[in-house]
Each structure stands twice: as C-alpha cells, then as structure tokens.
Symmetry: C2
Subunit: 590 residues, 2 copies
C-alpha cells in the first residue's frame, strides 16, 4: 500500500520564500503570514494523510456501481467526504455570504494539491462542485446564488459540468441537447451528455447540473449555446427539496482510472432547467471559468506525480538490489539499496525537479488569478490566460510521464495493482484528456493566446524572464541564469518562426503547437527554478536554521537546468521543421 505525506514545508517555501505572499499587495494576502498558512496546510495535511489517502486504493479497487439508478461510491468515500465537508474545505476561497471563508484562491490550490495527491477521485466530487459554484457566482442571478450556493459551498449539494455529448467534445458547436422555453420562464432540457464526472452518487442530498444546451434562435455553432442549471431534485422556494427532475443517469463508464469517481451518461428528458447568464452566451460563461478549471487539472497532473515520487523514493531506499559500482554502501546487507544506482537517481531527480517546479509554477499561476480577480489586474489576467494551456498541457503530460517513471522504479511490483503505483499512472492519465485534451491546449496557446491583445502577454512573459536573467548579478546564480537565458532564446526563436511562417501557412504554426507548449512549459519551469534558487540563496545568506533544505533546492534547480531544460532545443528543431513533414502523407497512406 502506498503512503502519502503532504509536503507542507515545500509548499511553505513556495508560498513565502518564492512568492512572498505575506508581503503581497493582493487584497487578502496580508492575512497569509507563515503561521497562518502553516496552520491551514497542517490541517489539510492531516485530512489528506489520515482520511483521504487511506481510501484511495479502495476507491480504485471497488469503483462505483450503478444500482437501480443510484450510484454507490466505494467503501469509506462517504465518510471521508463528510470530513472534507465538516472541515469547510470547499468554501476556503468562496464568499463569506454563502458560507465560505473568502481566503485567496492560492490557498485553495495549495491545500488542493494535498487532497488531489491523497485521493484524486474523491477530490473530484468537491472540485466539480467548486467549478459549478464559480460559474453560478460569475453568471447566475442573485436569486440563483441565494438558492443554490449556500448548500453547494457546504457540500450538502454537489455540482457537475455537462458539456460533452457522444458525437462531440472539443467541438461544442455540434451539440444537440435542446432547451425549449416554458411559460414559467424555465426551459425544458432534452438530450444526452456523456463523461459527466460525479454525475450521480450517494454522498449529497442534491446534485446541481450545469448543462450546455441550444435554445431556439441562437443560430448555428457555438453561438447558439446557453448554460442552464438543472437540479437533480427541484428546489422549493423555502430551500427544501421537491420532486425529482427529469434527469437520470443512463450508465457509468468503466475507465482506465479514477474508478472512485462516477463518470456518468446523463439523460435529460424534458428536465426543468434555469438559464444562467444571458441567452446564447453559454460559451462565454464556460470560458470565464476555464483558467481556474484548467489550472486545477494541471495541478492534478503534477499532484499525482508528487505522491508517486514519494513512494518511489521510499522503495528505492528500502529495496536491496545490486551494488554501488563506486564501492559497497551497505556492507552488512546482501545488496545495496536501489538509490545508490545512478539511473535510479536520475529518474528520481527527474521527478523531484519536475514536481517542485510544477508546484511553484502552479502556485504562481494561482496567485496571478488572485491578482486578476482581487485587484482587477488586467496584466495578471493576460499572463495567466497565456500560461493556462501550458499549466494544463505541460504539467499533465509530464505528470503522467513521471508517474510512469515512479512505477518503473518498482520493477515488476510496479505492474501489480496491490502496490498502488499503477493507480497513480492510471489516474493521472485522465488529466491529459479532460478539460480540453492537451492537443487542444496547444492549439489554444499557439492559435489564440500567443497573439492575444497584440502579443502583449507573451511580451510580458519575456520581460519577466529578462529581468530574472539580468538579476542582481549574484555570481553564484550565473550557471542557472545562463540556462534560463538559453531556454528563453529558444522560446523566442520559436515565436519568431510562428510569426514569420504562421501567417502564410497556419499549418507551419499548428504542426509545432505541442512542441511549443512543451518548450514554453520548460521555460516556465526554468523561470520558477531560477526564482527558487534565488530564494534558497537568500535564505542561506540570512542564516537559515535548515541549510540542508535550501541546499537541496539549489541542487535540484541545477539538475533541472542540466538535464531537463536542454529539451527546449529539441522542441525548437521540431517546430522549425514546419508543416511539410507533418502534412506530407495522403489520407489513404496512413
């Protein structure tokens, strides 16, 4: 059975040493001193380690079961979910008027990492609810907010997002679910939605479905789409629950992973729905939540790698196999621990340097969302909008790879379900797919975000890198800054290639979209590792009581720079080869 220990100290390092959140000018951040965040993180860690993680493997093994229209969640899930609820974790960053605590979003992300590492499938019931709340907060009427939000914030009711249909996911313009206006101002929703995470389950009194559907008069494609609230049980004016609405679960999917979360086919058969926001503006309503939702999925990708890494380290220290070629390390034992072998260290350092970089990148992203929302900072909004597909696509691609590498450390035992390493890889796999498959993230990045607002946001990113490279001239940082500079040069060269070629032939840009997303991802991790190294030197210079911790940050930064960042050159080479090799084959020749 795998174990999980929440990396509280590493998270504190990111929040305070790197992001300096206590000194930030973002409203609400002034409350986040070291002691406050430590208290919150310790509480979250306790829940994650003691309550959520212990039922993670059970969830995978038992899965969810549909019996007479009711979805039964795995043993222990309801009890664990009750503790999430009791702790008020869902409302951490939500408005006080609806029962939340109004803390910054960055704290939701920080604690969220622990919950996802501990039990991704269970956390999704909460995560989907949080997403639905955000949609209603942003676009719902005051009545809707009053009617739904308090119960959703408290997790008495959970939420879902209904976008995909059997014939379309990415291309939502094709959806067929219909919304017919009724005399009372509501709509009758009819159609089928698939891949609805937490669509039905036994852990909440009611489920509030947010559904994309086409109402008459909206025109073709995505323009005709509106967003509706469809409660599982009708809600009376006094807040009590009424009759069952015309929505039901048709079946649940047998999936590669996240078995503990019910992925439902939802059938809407004239179900009563209530318009959220403006008619025919449903896509806009969905898009406003996307930065947050996609950051959450990027977080899932690396959070699985965090727990996989922890277990790989434990195994590498414990398992005796072979001898250190430079001299026996465990002479009393029959063999040395795996950790002595350079190739084992290599994969562990790959994992460590990735997850720590990913954490810093994601928390930085979360703080930009706070800055955008709490200070109405358009620059922060633009920057996080640019980096969102990178956080989602790069961190989930790499997060999955790292889970696979962690599994590999276990040798044959990694393939045996009992040891739990397979689950991390299988669970992490979905993050590359949902909330916009990673190819779509790359398209969003290259096709939309790069040129957004005249390319202002990517220029702002380059300016940040330039400042970091120029730095304060600390000679100890020279090698690290040189690596970041080289990566940034590759990124700029790729952008240049797109500008010069993408206009004439869009396929020259699109053929390099995934490579660009990865190139950008490496540059971002290079940037945050440079910041982390700077923070580590600062702590060491200030005479920290824990020098080993900061020295390890420096060693890990240098590992990333030496072994991972050089990938930017490969991505650039591929991008520069353009569309010709990619598009050469006739359809029949595939």
């Amino acid at each position: 059975m795998p174990s999980y220990t929440a990396p509280v100290k590493d998270m504190q390092f990111v929040l305070h040493d790197v992001l300096g959140i206590g000194q930030s000018d973002i409203p609400g951040y002034e409350e986040l001193d070291r002691d406050t965040t430590a208290a919150i993180l310790e509480e979250a860690a306790k829940l994650a380690e003691g309550v959520l993680a212990p039922v993670n493997a059970i969830g995978d093994r038992e899965g969810c079961h549909l019996e007479n229209g009711v979805v039964r969640t795995p043993s222990g899930f309801a009890e664990a979910f009750a503790q999430v609820k009791e702790g008020g974790w869902n409302g951490l960053d939500l408005p006080e008027e609806f029962g939340g605590q109004n803390l910054p979003y960055v704290m939701n992300s920080a604690t969220g990492e622990f919950f996802v590492s501990a039990n991704m499938a269970l956390n999704m019931y909460q995560g989907l609810t949080h997403g639905a709340i955000s949609a209603i907060l942003a676009h719902g009427s005051d009545d809707q907010k009053a009617q739904y939000l308090p119960k959703m914030v408290s997790l008495d009711w959970t939420g879902t997002m209904n976008l995909t249909e059997p014939h379309c996911g990415t291309d939502l313009g094709l959806i067929r679910t219909k919304a017919e206006p009724q005399d009372d101002g509501s709509y009758a929703i009819t159609g089928q939605k698939i891949f609805i995470s937490a669509g039905e389950h036994d852990m909440a009194e009611n489920i509030i479905h947010l559904v994309l559907a086409k109402a008459p008069g909206g025109g073709a494609g995505t323009k005709g789409i509106s967003l509706f609230i469809v409660p599982k049980f009708m809600v009376n004016d006094d807040g009590s629950l009424g009759a069952r609405n015309g929505v039901s679960v048709g079946s649940i999917e047998d999936k590669m992973g996240i078995h503990g979360n019910a992925t439902c086919v939802m059938n809407y058969d004239g179900a009563t729905g209530y318009l959220v926001g403006d008619l025919h503006k449903g896509m806009r309503a969905m898009f406003t939540m996307m930065n947050e939702a996609r950051l959450g999925v990027g977080l899932q990708g690396y959070a699985q790698a965090v727990v996989a890494y922890e277990n790989a380290v434990a195994y590498a220290k414990d398992r005796l196999q072979g001898r250190d070629v430079t001299g026996t390390k465990n002479p009393e034992g029959p063999a040395d621990p795996l950790l002595v072998h350079p190739d084992i260290r290599r994969v562990l350092m790959d994992q460590k340097s990735f997850v720590e970089g990913a954490r810093a990148f994601t928390m930085w992203g979360a703080s930009l969302i706070d800055r955008a929302h709490r200070r109405q900072d358009a620059e922060a909004d633009g920057l996080i909008s640019l980096m969102t597909p990178v956080i989602k696509g790069f961190l989930t691609d790499k997060g999955f790879d790292m889970c696979v590498q962690a599994q590999q450390v276990y040798g044959g035992h990694g393939y045996i379900e009992e040891w739990g390493m397979s689950q991390f890889a299988r669970d992490a796999r979905i993050a590359m797919i949902y909330e916009g498959a990673n190819g779509v993230q790359a398209l969003d990045l290259v096709g939309r975000k790069l040129a957004q607002d005249g390319g202002k946001h990517v220029m702002a990113f380059f300016a940040l890198v330039k400042d970091e490279v120029a730095g304060a001239g600390d000679p100890r940082m020279e090698d690290i800054r040189a690596a970041l500079k080289a990566a940034s040069k590759d990124l700029q060269a790729a952008g240049q290639y797109f500008m010069e070629n993408g206009m004439k032939n869009p396929n020259d840009a699109l053929s390099g979209s995934t490579d660009f997303m990865h190139l950008f991802g490496h540059a971002c991790l290079g940037l945050v590792w440079t910041r982390m190294a700077r923070a580590a030197y600062a702590a060491l210079d200030a005479g920290t009581a824990d020098p080993a911790f900061y020295e390890a940050k420096l060693a890990t930064a240098r590992y990333y720079m030496a072994r991972q960042l050089p990938a930017t050159a490969l991505h650039l080479a591929r991008i520069r080869s353009g569309a010709a090799p990619v598009m050469a084959l006739a359809e029949a020749d595939f």
Copy 2:
C-alpha cells in the same frame, strides 16, 4: 471495439525490399522468396485477425481466475490457443526432429508481430514455451530433449521461466530457492518464485517449469545458480503423465494489464527437478537465451503500438471535430475529420514512423540472430548482442509512449475501457519492465556491451552507418543521409564522453545510460529508415506498380529524420552533463 489488420505488405517490404532475405547467404533463407513469405504471413494474418484479436478485449475484461489450484483462462482463449497449436505456429523455427518446421527465426519474429499485436496476453503462453524450448535445446541432454521437446513444440505442454523471487529480480545472486541432490540424480526444489507468466492455466496437459535454484557447493551470488526442469506432472518413460509434482500456484497477481495471462506465485515444495546443463552454470544457460527473449519483448513493445496506431488512424478518419484552418475539407458534414488537424497528423506520424522503423530494426535483429546461429557468424552475434538492450529498452519505452499517444487521439473515449485503447497502453506497459527493466538494459548496454570484445561491435555498428551515409551518392537521399550522419556523430560523441570519463568515474557513464540507450535507438531507427528510403527509391526506379506505397515510405522516412532524430542532441547534452547533477543530493534529501 478495436480492430486489427496485419501489416503484411509492410512486413514483406522489410523482409524483401530492405533485408533482401531471399538473396541472403544465410542457410534456410534461400527458401524465403516473396511468394513463400507472403503465404506464411497471410496465414498468420488470418489467425491473428480472425481468431486472436477477437478475444483480446475479452481477455482483458475477464482476466484469469484461480479456483481450487486451477487457473481458468478467459472465455475463448482455449479455443484460440487450440488454433495456434493446430497451425503449428510454435514450431515454425524449431528443429524438424522435434516436430518443428526449421524455418529461420526471422519468420518467427515476423509472424510473431502479428500475433502479439492481435493478442499479447494469449501469445505469451506460446512465447514462454518457445523460450523454454530454446533453453532445453541449447543446454538440455539428448534424453531431456526427446522427453520434453516434441510435446512443447506442439504446445500440448507449455513452458515457463522461473527467475524472480519476492526479494529479488534483477539481482539474481540473492535467490533463495534451493535444490537438494537426491539419490536418483534428480533434485528436490524448494522455494517461492513470483511473477511467473503462464505459471498455471487450463490450456495444456502439462507445464514444464524452468527454474533457477541454488544447489550446494556453488558458492555465493550468481555463481551458485543452476537451471532445473520441473514438470507440473511427472513424465513417465513412455511419455505418459504420472503423478503431480510438488509445485503449485499460490496466487495470481492483479496487474495493470495483460490480464489474459496468468502471472503466478509458484511454490516449490520439494518438487522433483532435473538439472539442465552444467551444475552451477545456470546463469550462463539463461544468458544464452537472452538475445532472443529480449528481442521478443522489444517486439511486444512496438507490436502494441502497431495496433494502437491502426485504431487511432481509423478514429481520426471517422471522428468529425473542428475545421481544417486552411479550408473546409468536409463541407457536407458538420465538421471535418480529426485527421485534417496538424497536431493529430503529428502524433499519427510519430506513431507510424516509429512502428515502421521498429519493425525494420527488429527484423534486422532477428536476421542477425539467424546469421549468428545458422552461419556461426561471430560478427553478427556481436552486433545483435550489442543492439539487444536497445531493441528491448528503446522499443518498449517508445512503444508504450506511442500507445499513450494513440489513446490520446480518442479524447475522452480513449480513457473508457470499452474502446480498447487503454488496454494497448496497459498491456504495453509491462514490456518496459520484464525481461530486465529498461534501466537494466541501459546498464547492460553501457556497462557491458559497449566495451565487449574491445569495443569491436560498436565499431562495427559505426562502420555500417558510415557505409550507409557514404552510400551510392544518390542526390535524392542527401537530406536523409545528412540527418543520419548528424545522429551518428552524436552517438560517437557520447561514446567518446564515456571513454574519457567513465574510467575515472563510472557514475559519469551510468548517469547517462538511459539517454545513451535512447540515443542509440534513434541512431538505429535512423539507419533503418535510411535503408528503407533507399529501398523505396530502388522500387520506384524499377517501376513498381504501387508507387504510392513507396512514396509514403519516403515521406515517413523524412518525418522521422526531421521530427524524431534530432532527439539525439538532447540525449547527448544530458549525457555530457555527467554524474554531478544526478548524484548531488544526499539520501535524506530525496
């Protein structure tokens, strides 16, 4: 449900256009003209497509079940296995005196690809038997051969390989299974073996276990290991089956994939065993089979990618989503097929260029095994010995990646088991682990094979590349040869780095071992793609009736050169960063 079509035409291209097997001087190859191999491949294709593939998903879903000491294989497996048996496929390359057909090993590999793509789990029952036969052929006594081989060649009996124990896999010197000499010359075998594929099942009359165990007087470590035959049922002198031997299945593992193959814990409780080959020389006996076994696992890695690719192509042509940015391709439909999108083409070209390169590489390797065995060619033996860890490690790492990419083409459906794409990835995953985890392959390559026989074999490899780069001066090949040359230069530079640094500090070499294995793998695929391109031009110049087929080979070669081969520079950069970043952290800091 996924489908499978055996790539007979592509295999014929490799065997004849590229390897020219009909014109080879290897004994037995003279029979392999185009018509003969076509007939064999068509028969194998029929079996793979019509019998093995249809029960592949069933095997995954049902798995194997242990009931009262008997393992029940999935529905339809026994019937399908009976057809493999009836077709005589197991004896294709085995000696006629034991019921085989004595065809070259390359034909076993060529037909094997089809069987593995169709149903890897089922094929393993046969593959393990084939491996056990090879061990007995190479090291068994004449009596043992007469007693066991005819029934094993016919698949009336199957075989297993018993190496791993709970506390050791890679480091076999640690095994504890004991062999006590008995008065009648046999041994009493006692101990526990784990991860025994096909260790127990209901498809054969008897199971012949090959077991590594320690007999008294052999000394410590691997030197004390001997190899034993332990039949499930004792075999009487007249060939009839006698009493049940003291070997039984303790449990079967719940695995990430290959559910249709029973992975058993085998308990030996004073079981009667018969020494194979010399006492205390069991490791040597195992090693002589290793080239073949590891080539077989490399084949598994890419064979799963073959069928995953085929299904990804079918989905990309069928699924309508979005529009071609350069102009609508399917104006009558609501959207264009996925295949119009450059990023979808990119992943399909990655897959196509990999699987076709991997096929050519593996069949070349198989022909080197034939050359080594049938002509006692020491150079061929040295070359395949060098390339074996590359075939195993590189092709399984990449094969798994490609299965994951194929799954990604399906979007959300790729994550749903019903669609079958998850199974390909989960099944392919094991090939990176068993028969020596890929990190061990890299260690074998860098730590043993590179310097073997004074580095003669790697020099021979470079000479081959040099000849291919020099070529006949065909100007149409210039770009392809230039790419191969660049990759080869990177490989030589990496070798140079190891020579200059590995002696002083072995960890400088070992820290780059996996990167070197991948660098070498790319160089090998670059080499075979250059050969394939040359063969394609030759066919076009000769006025082939099927120019589109050969043009597609050229386009795919150029894709590999432009998009994949540049990875050599990244691997070289990582190798050159040496051991320092890899080994910097203290154990406590992981």
